[in-house]
C-alpha cells in the first residue's frame, strides 16, 4: 500500500481524472473531497460491505418461513 502524507488543501491524483483532496482535519476525523468522472462510483466502504453481507445472508432463505409470511399478506388483503 502506498502511504502519502498530505496537509489540508493538498490532494493526490489517481490516474488522470480522480482527485482526492484533504478538505479538513479535525481531531480523529478527516474530511475528504473526491473529484471523479461520473462513471466511477464513490461510496463509503462500509456501505459496500453492508450490502455484500446482506446479500450473502439473503442467499440462504429459510424456504418454509416464506409460506408463513406469504399467508399473512393474503389474510390482510
Amino acid at each position: 500500500m502506498l502511504v502519502l502524507t498530505r496537509k489540508p488543501n493538498e490532494s493526490i491524483m489517481i490516474g488522470d481524472d480522480v482527485e482526492v483532496s484533504v478538505v479538513e482535519v479535525k481531531g480523529d476525523q478527516v474530511k475528504l473531497g473526491i473529484t471523479a468522472p461520473k462513471s466511477i462510483k464513490v461510496h463509503r466502504k462500509e456501505i459496500f460491505l453492508a450490502i455484500q453481507k446482506e446479500n450473502i445472508d439473503a442467499s440462504r432463505p429459510v424456504i418454509d418461513r416464506i409460506g408463513e409470511i406469504g399467508g399473512i399478506f393474503k389474510k390482510r388483503k
Binding site: 456501505i47 442467499s59 432463505p61 424456504i63 409470511i69 406469504g70
Partner: protein, 151 residues
C-alpha cells in the same frame, strides 16, 4: 425450457424471464444470469440463478410493505442498464431467517431491471434513510396503524 430451481425443483421457464446482471450482485459478482420467477407465496418473487440451482434470492416490491417508498438511485445506475427513469422495474432483496418476524428487505441495495432488455443491476440507494434491513412485519404493522388513523 426447463431449469432447476431452488424453491420448486425443475420448472418450465421462458426466455422473457431471463435477467442479465452484467456486474452480478455485490458478493456474487461472477453470477450474471438469473430467471425471475413468480412465487407461490404472497407478494414475493424469486431471482433464481440460471447456472446454480442452489442459489436463489427472494425479492419483493417494497411498496407492498412501505408507504411512500421511492426508488432513488443515481443516473449512472440507470445508464449501466441503458434505461431511463420510468423504464425500470425495481425490487428489494429479502432476507428470510428462521424467525418469520425477522424477515427483512434490503432497501439500501435495490435491484433495478430494464423492462425491455431485462438488463439489471444492484444499485446503491441515494436515500440515506434506506438501510439493508427493513423488517417487513414491523413495517406492515406501522402501515396498518397508518391506515386506521386516516380512515
Amino acid at each position: 425450457m426447463k431449469i432447476k430451481t431452488k424453491p420448486y425443483g425443475e420448472l418450465e421457464v421462458n426466455e422473457k424471464q431471463k435477467i442479465h446482471f452484467p456486474d452480478g450482485l455485490f458478493g456474487f459478482e461472477e453470477v450474471k444470469q438469473y430467471f425471475l420467477l413468480d412465487s407461490e407465496e404472497g407478494p414475493f418473487y424469486w431471482l433464481q440463478s440460471a447456472e446454480h440451482p442452489e442459489l436463489a434470492f427472494v425479492l419483493i416490491d417494497p411498496r407492498v410493505f412501505k408507504n411512500n417508498y421511492t426508488l432513488s438511485v443515481g443516473d449512472d445506475d440507470y445508464r449501466a442498464i441503458d434505461a431511463r427513469k420510468g423504464e425500470v422495474i425495481d425490487f428489494a432483496i429479502v432476507t428470510v431467517p428462521e424467525d418469520p418476524e425477522k424477515i427483512s428487505a434490503n432497501l439500501m441495495g435495490p435491484i433495478i431491471i430494464n423492462r425491455k432488455s431485462r438488463k439489471a443491476r444492484q444499485a446503491i440507494s441515494e436515500n440515506d434513510e434506506y438501510t439493508v434491513k427493513h423488517y417487513i412485519m414491523e413495517e406492515m404493522k406501522g402501515r396498518k396503524e397508518d391506515l386506521v388513523e386516516t380512515a
